[in-house]
Symmetry: C2
Subunit: 337 residues, 2 copies
């Protein structure tokens, strides 16, 4: 279900902020939390002043991007081999970066991101045709039955996650070639058209997603065909039929916002024909950038240029962590459990 | 300054919810609050559990839309004749509706809305040309020097507030004719393209605005001309020059989001050329529909179908209000001051 974390009922009491380097980058539900308790050398679990149930922080003693990445990966591989969390069965050996503001903190196996509710970024292309007879028509793809996620579901013509090391337009062009064999002379017509952000939740976990959307007007006679085995079919549908399909269980739920946004921007869904128009536009633009606002007192002080030691490590589970000198403002203390 | 009410520093301590029929429809700053204290028969001021400084509610004993409207209007005319609040000097005898969800609660003189921070709705048309030589070009208007607000500033080609009794497309077509003399054969090309929402603040007050945006592609040889005296000039600018002008003091600040949104949707501002792209998109879609969430305990109970009397009228200033029987769940009690 796609919902809004602005809703006051959103997960009352059942969820904890996930911090890296003193800044919130995600959210952890209780089923995941129970497993993370088994790794006190990796996850520091303690009280916090804003949530009754405390927070989870990646061990602040980890020195850098590479150490954070490696330590987390060990845990994730462990959880995967224990057969826990169906999301991890879709392991792709493809990493997504975890950032705070513009700083990359670590990278994480893509399949594991829903366990931590870290923001994910993707690219989607709305391929469309202005048909002389049928008017506005939209190309959809049907995902291959062997896809790790949403197999066999209908989807945007082209889409892909933003992997580490790849830019946004670069990803759009690459996916356009691989998924739909869009030739160079057509792909140059790609138009960046904004982004949609939403917060999806399933039994797999939490998906705060931002999709960079592109529009691509195609000639009437162009037919996409798949080159990478990830798509089993393409279909061109008039706008009204496309919208009907989007609301069936045959459509990948997390791709629906992209189609709806397209139809809004192109005047197909309007305030005149949709009573909840402004609310829908809001749900397509959930403020994920503002969402994760928890900062530890230390991080706040650092930002105010005060280099005092933190004293908010009480009730911390990091009993077995060795004491390290203060490095970059981070420290962890020995405490008895 | 256009800012985000999601920012935790937004008006710490200086602002109170404004309620009508138990639901929040606005915000009241302290300068306005001081004046409203003089009208205890119209504004009920009391403590509330979420804000230290209390809340302001329009007397819940007012029976209906018309009574609420009339009582409020008397206060506003009084404040206007006292010369208080520069916003009221722009009195237009044009009313905006105040709604909660889809229910209209009252209407209020347009010029007074920033004093109460009630959500306002408008319509804007992005007139543009695909110029064979200059590429994407955008028509801007320069507001007449006699306009009540932002006189002489540059603005979107066409725009207008949504007055009571007028629909959205209806307003767009009407304003297109009055402001820019767009003929019927061109106005039929209007394309609804979504909405932008932002929260602006000035010394005039609070402006949580939602603008329904329309795109209108115009032929190269069409020149708008004004019919209603509200516009002193039109100019067609290439996109880059348009964007430069938007960021000068010559441009109406509350129209900037409309131009920026247009340039994003048309691929001129992209994630590749703008570092803060996702944050900008968020600032163009501030969730105003979710913003005003305060509900009195009574309203919450009514929604849960419990018809118990409220007991949260303690510390209420409505000393002089006569007791009325419970009507539609609303009541006010005699209390000694």
């Amino acid at each position: 279900m796609v919902n809004s974390p602005l809703d006051p009922c959103f997960h009352k009491g059942d969820i904890r902020p996930f911090l890296v380097e003193g800044q919130q980058v995600g959210l952890i539900k209780s089923d995941v939390f129970k497993q993370l308790l088994k790794y006190p050398e990796v996850f520091c679990i303690r009280d916090c002043e804003y949530t009754k149930q405390g927070l989870v922080e990646l061990n602040p003693a980890f020195r850098d991007y590479n150490e954070r990445t490696a330590q987390l990966e060990k845990v994730l591989r462990d959880l995967r081999s224990d057969g826990l969390f169906s999301a991890l069965q879709g392991w792709r050996d493809e990493c997504f970066e975890v950032k705070s503001e513009h700083k990359a903190l670590l990278k994480m196996e893509r399949a594991a991101t829903p366990l931590f509710g870290v923001r994910k970024y993707g690219v989607d292309i709305n391929g469309y045709v202005r048909h002389p007879k049928h008017g506005l028509c939209i190309w959809l793809q049907q995902r291959s039955n062997t896809k790790e996620t949403w197999p066999g579901k209908w989807d945007n013509m082209v889409g892909g996650g933003l992997s580490v090391g790849y830019g946004i337009m670069e990803t759009a062009i690459k996916e356009a070639g691989e998924e739909a064999s869009i030739p160079c002379d057509l792909v140059k017509n790609l138009v960046s058209a904004g982004c949609v952000s939403f917060f999806f939740e399933s039994d797999q976990g939490l998906f705060p997603n931002t999709e960079y959307v592109f529009d691509l007007e195609l000639p009437v006679d162009f037919v996409p065909h798949n080159a990478d085995g990830e798509v089993q079919a393409f279909e061109l549908l008039p706008a009204n039929e496309c919208m009907e399909r989007v609301f069936t269980p045959d459509f990948k739920t997390t791709s629906a916002p992209v189609v709806i946004d397209f139809l809004i921007r192109h005047g197909y869904i309007t305030a005149e024909n949709e009573l909840n128009f402004t609310q829908i536009v809001e749900l397509l633009h959930v403020p994920l950038q503002s969402l994760y606002t928890y900062k530890t007192r230390l991080e706040q002080k650092l930002q105010q240029h005060q280099a005092t030691l933190p004293n908010d490590d009480s009730n911390c589970n990091c009993a077995s962590l060795p004491k390290r000198p203060l490095e970059n403002g981070h420290n962890n203390k020995k405490e008895s459990t």
